[in-house]
């Protein structure tokens, strides 16, 4: 019973993650990726782009900070130095659903659009007020937006911003329908190891406490991969959270996806839990039920139901149990 529920949960989570990566059925109109210097969003973005390419979506890359056009991108839009309205117009002109056709046609024929924004920080720091407008104007049923926000870069807000207003990141995480937080698998593994030995958890990069260090050092051969913390908000408002491992693709193959709990290092915790639920191995007697005992127990008609069937009489409250062969009848106990 327990293993099958686990498998079910596992396949359900993986399917959900894939659905989000594929952006099928407008699974998430606004996907926010939070990254740091320790683990950039690059591999995850590339995965979005590759999957979009396979699904024959039109891929727009809105570049605030990127000089090179990434692989598989159809349209590369330079966003720097442009006003937000001009940018919206430019993006909309590329991915607008064909309006001249009838609504029926657009629903069936229109090409899906994947809009990738390489960094929301410049926009959020320059004009935090226009973020909702920006998202509202470019997202439509055929266009999904995937945007990166660098979590470790402080925002310098213009003086016009009231100090009591919510921080742009707060605003962003409220608006996003799915949030992916990426971190390095290597660092997650090291942290886990330290936890298992009750050691102080290591820190990297800016939190390393060494003056002059910006990026943490990765030494030796390390597992290629990143931990993706997913938080997906359903339409009902309920959030689904899960942690995955994304192993970037080598060559033409797609990236490998798995649950973080499937990682050998992160699995034992799960096993210990499972053991607690199941049979106690170390006791001298058996607390479990045999199949027959279980059937017998299910066969008992509880007094409540008995009272309902026999109307009148007022003789409810009996427990009707047919004694089996293995039950030993205790006279003293039943005298009362």
């Amino acid at each position: 019973m327990a293993p099958s529920a686990q498998t079910h949960h596992r396949s359900h989570s993986l399917l959900l993650f894939q659905k989000l990566l594929n952006l099928r059925d407008s699974a998430s109109p606004l996907t926010l990726i939070l990254d740091t210097l320790e683990q950039g969003a690059g591999p995850l973005l590339q995965e979005f782009i590759n999957r979009g390419k396979l699904a024959r979506s039109k891929i727009l890359f809105v570049s605030f900070t990127t000089a090179r056009k990434p692989r598989n991108v159809d349209i590369f839009i330079k966003a720097r130095g442009k006003s937000v309205t001009a940018l919206i117009t430019e993006i909309a002109s590329h991915c607008a659903p064909v309006n001249s056709q009838t609504p029926k046609d657009t629903a069936t024929n229109s090409q899906k659009c994947l809009i990738v924004v390489d960094s929301l920080n410049p926009l959020a720091s320059k004009e935090p007020h226009v973020l909702p407008l920006f998202f509202g104007s470019i997202i439509n049923p055929f266009a999904s937006l995937v945007a990166v926000y660098h979590n470790d870069v402080p925002l310098v807000l213009p003086r016009t911003v009231n100090e009591y207003e919510p921080h742009p990141l707060t605003l962003l995480s409220h608006m996003a329908t799915a949030i992916f937080k990426v971190s390095s698998l290597y660092q997650a593994v090291e942290t886990k190891r330290a936890q298992m030995r009750s050691l102080r958890e290591p820190e990297w990069g800016l939190h390393e406490g060494r003056e002059g260090v910006l990026v943490g050092l990765r030494t030796g051969h390390q597992p290629e991969g990143l931990v993706v913390e997913m938080e997906m908000r359903r339409r009902s408002g309920r959030a689904v959270a899960e942690r995955f491992i994304l192993s970037p693709s080598r060559g033409g193959a797609g990236a490998g996806l798995s649950l973080l709990s499937d990682h050998p290092l992160f699995a034992p915790a799960k096993d210990a839990e499972g053991g607690a639920e199941g049979e106690m191995a170390d006791s001298t007697f058996n607390l479990g039920l045999t199949e027959k005992q279980r059937n017998d127990r299910e066969g008992i008609v509880l007094p409540y139901f008995d009272a309902q069937t026999e109307v009148g009489g007022g003789e409810g409250g009996r427990i009707l149990y047919d004694m089996g062969r293995e039950d030993d009848f205790d006279e003293e106990e039943d005298e009362i």
């Binding site: 690059g42 660098h150 310098v156 002059g212």
Partner: protein, 389 residues
């Protein structure tokens, strides 16, 4: 004399491969562990082929003969890269010997080799010339041959009239030069004119004020007379002026060289000096950098990463700086951070150099992340070694 050459351990990181086009390399240092020596090694690696191919080849045989085979032997991965400059050296030398002139030089080898635009905000040209001279790199000569461009961000507004004209002629744009739009530019100008330039320079510049003033004064006046347009100074520190000057300098170099590497030393000074606290200067500078990156083969930036500037993030200046440096680190393909030894001061160790990847993972070059110790000797020679060596 090995200390004068490029440290072998750093060699693979100093080379900019053709596949790294439009990449950005961020060098960070802190007070007491500055990036000058590292930047000089980058300059040397970029410019040595064009330098050795000319007159300095016979005069400096040990450096050319000793350093390159060593590099090949120790680092197998560097083989193709190490071969390239030598090959180019061989092909270009006969042509230059026949031509002998500067113009012919540019025409023959200019297409092949790399040009460098050096923009310096905290140090003047004399400093770079002297330090590079110790490595056997003749910046003046390279500049005259169109391999090097220098933009002086220290002596802002010095002779801005004459240099401003030079800029306009060089860039071909007829825009009027904005004379003193920022108060700081005006003070910088007057300070430079009265010869108190070191007031704006950091204490690391150990030369007497007289050499600074004479050299800069001489270079700006002579440079104009002799038509040395490769040396420019900024008319002001306003971003628009900086942008115009850098663009025209870069365009000029791009005409003469196939690949131009942009090297900007301490751009964060410009941010600190002119920031209005609204984050506008920071974003304008980032936009400018992206524009310049598109034109150039690679960009090398040096920044300060001291804790008060990066970690505290309390005042607007802190936040501005941290946001600027960290954003650039996100865009960089490689980050090289210098810092002091964690355990304190040692006689034979100046600091630690850490080489890591940046936030830009789109490049094809795999960066092997390493941490080494380094020691800068009194003669400017640098030794880089592993811990315990």
């Amino acid at each position: 004399m090995t200390s004068r050459n490029i440290p072998h351990l750093l060699e693979p990181y100093l080379v900019i491969e053709p596949s790294q086009s439009q990449s950005q390399i961020l060098l960070t240092g802190i007070l007491g562990a500055n990036t000058n020596w590292l930047l000089l090694r980058y300059l040397y690696t970029l410019l040595k082929s064009s330098s050795t191919s000319r007159s300095s080849l016979p005069s400096r045989p040990p450096a050319a003969a000793v350093s390159q085979p060593q590099g090949q032997r120790r680092l197998g991965t560097r083989m193709p890269i190490a071969v390239e400059p030598e090959f180019e050296l061989r092909t270009s030398t006969p042509a230059q010997q026949q031509n002998g002139g500067d113009a012919g030089d540019q025409g023959e080898s200019g297409n092949e080799s790399v040009g460098v635009l050096l923009v310096s905000f905290l140090r003047d040209f004399a400093f770079w010339k002297e330090s590079a001279g110790r490595l056997g790199l003749d910046l003046e000569g390279l500049g005259r041959r169109g391999k090097l461009g220098f933009v002086d961000g220290l002596c802002v507004g010095v002779g801005s009239g004459s240099d401003g004209e030079g800029v306009v002629v060089g860039g071909g744009g007829g825009l009027p030069v904005r004379r003193p739009p920022v108060p700081l530019a005006a003070t910088g100008g007057s300070a430079g004119a009265t010869g108190t330039v070191p007031g704006r320079g950091p204490p690391q510049v150990p030369r007497p004020a007289t050499t600074t003033t004479t050299t800069t004064g001489g270079s700006s006046s002579q440079g104009h007379v002799e038509g040395e347009k490769w040396k420019r100074s900024l008319p002001s520190l306003a971003v628009a002026d900086v942008s115009k000057t850098l663009h025209s300098a870069l365009n000029e170099l791009c005409q003469k060289n196939k690949k131009v590497v942009l090297v900007i030393d301490q751009l964060d000074f410009l941010l600190a000096a002119t920031s209005d606290g609204n984050g506008l200067v920071s974003s304008a500078l980032q936009d400018l950098l992206l524009d310049l990156r598109e034109k150039s083969h690679a960009t090398i930036l040096t920044m300060s990463a001291d804790d008060p500037l990066i970690a505290s993030q309390v005042t607007t200046l802190d936040k501005d700086h941290a946001s600027f440096v960290l954003s650039l680190a996100h865009e960089a393909e490689m980050v090289v951070s210098l810092r002091l030894l964690d355990t304190g001061i040692a006689k034979d160790v100046s600091g630690v150099v850490r080489i890591t990847r940046g936030g830009d993972t789109g490049g094809e070059k795999q960066i092997e992340e390493k941490e080494y110790l380094y020691h800068v000797g009194g003669d400017g020679g640098v030794r880089v070694f592993e811990r315990g060596q």
